[in-house]
């Protein structure tokens, strides 16, 4: 069996499962947020009764992150619904707004809080829940109805996905980031190239990546339609997880006879800075092919491109330079926001580097303009802007206005492009 099959077999209480089988799987963690949590709770109460109890309060994680820093009253009401539910059910894991526990973007907050562990099943009411596959677990996005079912029973009927394996040999060049790698793969297989499949990433180049970079790779498998992404467990994984939780876990590895639907091999040394053009994540080009594209803004943030290492990468390019277009920066979590003050390059804090460069920085960690959001969201596209962004999607209207055009790229490429005002291969600026 593959890693994905082994996790699902274990969670189903079975010795083995086959791709295509439908099995009832036990969830280790259910995550929901302010946008889908209220509807999930509504269905839970409708179907199980007003006095129903969740199956295990310690396995439910509530992370308000989408619409937090807005004047929208319904958005505030939705956070109140999460609060009331946590209190009523005795759920300890509520990362509440306005408290020191508040974190921000759920897919980065989950690992920070020690909720991502090898071998487990993580279900979340958000399509980018697949990010956690970086931690050698099965993690996938589900709807409100499925989530309400899990809240009541701790189980869900899942179809076992066949695995597509992507092997990257060699070392990634220093000007290439995980974002370039996953945009390259999505460009190869298309936005429905992995529908109903698991995507496994392997090879020397993958196992050399930091945890955050592995998260970037798994984060975007949904952009190829995949059910989950997964990476083997190694010392990088174990060290990260053990530093954040004392819960025991059982990692998984592919069996010697594991069967893959396809296996694609890449030479990581040949990867180049890659961009997804409007209006689809698979509309691939190389950054150096797009130097004629004039930009009106740049954006660095989100679960995909708003982690500490993403800001470190951006700062390497921006240090000692000025941006030529409006450049919006939003840390994904409060830990990342703090790191902007404590992480330094040549002794200079990232925050100072960004301020010197003329960036517009919000220290209010959240999903912010990655998905547009309420009209008053920081960095939201409200007109015919041409934006280069470290986020994950560029379908029409994704960051706000339908008139906007969004190019997806790595933090290096976004920062380099912000400096020149046109799409720029970061090799032109990286020393």
């Amino acid at each position: 069996m593959t890693m994905t099959e082994k996790i699902l077999a274990r969670a189903a209480g079975r010795r083995a499962v086959e791709p295509g089988e439908n099995v009832w799987v036990r969830a280790d963690v259910l995550m929901t947020h302010d946008v889908c949590g209220p509807g999930t709770i509504g269905i839970f109460k409708r179907e199980f009764g007003p006095t129903a109890r969740v199956w295990d309060p310690d396995r439910v994680v509530l992370i308000p992150d989408h619409y937090i820093f807005t004047a929208d009253e319904k958005a505030h009401r939705n956070v109140d619904i999460l609060r009331a539910f946590a209190a009523e059910q005795g759920i300890p894991h509520l990362y509440d707004v306005g408290t020191p526990r508040y974190k921000g973007v759920c897919h980065v907050a989950l690992p920070e809080g020690g909720h991502t562990r090898p071998g487990e099943v993580l279900l979340g009411t958000d399509s980018h829940t697949c990010t956690a596959g970086a931690f050698n677990e099965f993690a996938t996005g589900i709807g409100n109805t499925d989530a309400a079912f899990v809240l009541g029973t701790g189980k869900l009927l899942l179809k076992v996905p066949a695995t597509m394996r992507f092997v990257f040999d060699g070392e990634i060049p220093p000007y290439v980031l995980a974002k370039d790698l996953i945009l390259h793969v999505i460009g190869d297989i298309g936005v429905d190239g992995a529908t109903y499949r698991a995507m496994e990433f392997a090879g020397e180049a993958i196992m050399r990546l930091s945890m955050e970079e592995r998260m970037t790779v798994c984060n975007m498998v949904i952009e190829a339609g995949a059910k989950n992404g997964i990476i083997a467990c190694d010392e990088t994984t174990r060290a990260f997880v053990r530093a954040r939780t004392s819960r025991p876990f059982t990692e998984v590895a592919n069996d010697p006879g594991a069967r893959f639907l396809v296996e694609r091999r890449y030479d990581a040394r040949t990867l180049e800075p890659t961009v997804a053009k409007p209006h689809s994540p698979d509309n691939r080009a190389l950054a150096r092919e797009l130097r004629e594209v004039r930009l009106t803004r740049a954006y660095i943030g989100s679960c995909t491109g708003g982690k500490v290492s993403d800001f470190v990468s951006a700062a390497r390019v921006l240090k000692g330079r000025r941006v030529a277009v409006d450049t919006f920066l939003v840390p994904s979590t409060t830990d990342v926001a703090r790191a902007l003050r404590t992480e330094t390059i040549d002794g200079r804090p990232l925050l100072d580097i960004f301020r010197d460069a003329g960036c517009q920085i919000s220290l209010d960690a959240s999903c912010a303009a990655c998905l547009g959001g309420p009209r008053d969201t920081f960095g939201r596209i409200n007109g015919p802007e041409v934006c280069i962004s470290t986020t994950n999607r560029n379908f029409p209207g994704r960051m706000g206005s339908k008139e906007g055009q969004v190019y997806l790229a790595s933090p290096y490429t976004v920062a380099a492009s912000a400096v020149t005002g046109r799409i720029t291969d970061p090799r032109e600026l990286l020393q």
């Binding site: 509807g39 179907e47 998905l371």
Partner: protein, 185 residues
Amino acid sequence: MTAIRGQVYVVGDNVDTDQIIPAEYLNLVPTIPEEYRKLGSYALSGLPRAAGEPPFVPAGATTTPYVIVVAGRNFGCGSSREHAPIALGAAGARAVVAESFARIFFRNCVATGELYPVETPERIVDAFRTGDEAVLDLDASTLTNARTGATFTLRPLGDAGPVIAAGGLFEYARKTGMIPGTRPA
């Protein structure tokens, strides 16, 4: 099962959930009846339209005249928001007939019972125009364009069939003994 008869609304490939229900409306909670209806009024409002193309929900209306959406590949890709099939269902659509669906959208249709997600083995978007009368016969697994007389065969519902037949995930789970009894009063 049933036949669904009415006007179709034709869209292309990769219509994602932001086009089906733009994120600015995700402050609405689908289980609150008034907000459920409001979601319906915004269905497909994120879809870019060519000049002269009618909106899915007419200006000032809260429901759609189109009961069947005809789509290309990968309908419903993007986010896992259940607001997407709910918005279409709340607007009055009953089915989406597409060449293929994104996984989570398809599953959310099945789990909620809001919409029939039906796949076709061939591309049909060029055989329909928005406003055509059509008949979707779920027993015979066919979609017929009343304007042209052309009939298209649908793919079987597969694993989703028993769940749809039971009326959604909760009813299926009750029927198969995964959860006890009936829905609480």
